[in-house]
Amino acid sequence: MGRRVGLEVSLACAEAVKLCNADVIAAYPITPQTHIVEHLAELVAEGHLDAEFVPVESEHSAMSACVGSAAAGARTFTSTSSQGLALMHEILFITSSLRLPIVMAVANRSLSAPISIWNDHSDIMAERDIGWVQTFAENGQEVLDLMIHAFKVGEDPRVNLPVAVNMDGFILTHVIEPMVMPDQAEVDAYLPPYKPSQWLNPAQPISLGMVGVPEVYTEAKKANLVALEDSYPAIVEHWEGFAKAFGRSYQPIESHRTDGADTLFVTMGSLGETCMSAVDQMREDGRSVGQVRIRLWRPFPVDDFLAAIKGAKNLIVLDRALCPGILAGPVATELRALLYAKGVRPFVANFVAGLGGRDVTRTDFVAMLDKAEQAAADGQEITCQMVGVKE
């Protein structure tokens, strides 16, 4: 039933890839992803993992090598961060359009300039539309578990899509945490060897990546769109299977003390744990507050989200990235559009916090609640308000 270990989260991520028996790893090192691929290179070099480690010259090449490897039917992993993810940009769309179930760990980090190696969600928010399944982890155990789940989901013949597991750089990747490391036999039972739906097989030749003339491009994109939407049941089903196999359960949207709460924080990633602790304190202080956490970002679990926020008067949506020119963060922009379309009208306050590694504390959450409650009472707008910006 697994063993309890204390492990750096990056190493746990690499150990998860080993437990999943990846065949090919192509990666280029970039802070704060480095420990993940360094450890995998070690595991391969020392014979603990029977895989090809392809040390490429850039992230563009890393993802390109992954496309080739996945097209050849190999279980394929890569990992990157920030500028590296940006450099992969054009290949990311090809990966999902060709329906190649690559798994990628993204150690979330801000984008330059100024150069910053620290955490925020600028990198992945610039890649929202790549057509991948995207999940967010809050702690080390979740990184480990979501990685195993990612291979299971991506390779499901109903899905056949790449999966990105997001983990906050440094805040998660470089922290040693207690976690339960599953046994190899448990993972093998949950994740059998990969049986690709199709591959570059000389016995049954196919071509991938052909030209799509105007007569077919729209239909091809429709198929991609539906494929991502239709991955939802498999994602949930494999979390249920994960709970049965490993005893830890995951939901597309997680709720914390939402019962009867007037105001709900909406968070993603590691900020969720700080927020949870702040919510507990504020509840003790008699504040009517709770929290929902977005674990599944793509495909966005619309019904789960609406159910989770049902009855809330105010939402405080936290963004860890910017959408310059629209004055709302990416998460708030999407949620407001969704709520409008669904005819649900809570007051939505949008704060941007934790850019480029800036700490977000429990006190910050209390201040956000104070401001949001006041603004809701006064009928004032709060959007893209930057927490802790020095005026």
Partner: protein, 109 residues
């Protein structure tokens, strides 16, 4: 755009994979040609084969009925005029064509 030859999105292969070899033979680049076609004057032609070599759409192929010459295929010729530009003897020139004659018999014989 007529919808003949279009495939419903549900019928597309996974990832738009193509399992049929040589399907680009059916790609009618001749449809791009507008109002004129290249015609070869075989009195001037020296059978050098440059048109065959440089045509980007392989619209010229050796003529089985006239050894050494090359015949033109209106199904593939997109009317770029590179053959006219490159012919060392200026044996190829534009000829007006009507839309309805587009896929008529190969000319220039």
């Amino acid at each position: 755009m007529a919808d003949e030859g279009m495939t419903p999105w549900k019928d597309l292969a996974l990832g738009c994979a193509m399992s049929e070899p040589g399907s680009s033979r059916r790609f009618n680049t001749g449809d791009w040609r507008s109002r004129r076609r290249p015609i070869t004057d075989r009195e001037k032609c020296i059978k050098c084969g440059l048109c065959w070599i440089i045509c980007p759409d392989m619209a010229y192929t050796p003529d089985p009925e006239a050894e050494g010459y090359y015949k033109w295929d209106g199904y593939y010729c997109k009317g770029c005029g590179i053959c006219i530009e490159e012919c060392p003897k200026d044996a190829i020139s534009w000829q007006e064509e009507k839309e309805e004659d587009k896929y008529g018999p190969a000319c220039g014989s």
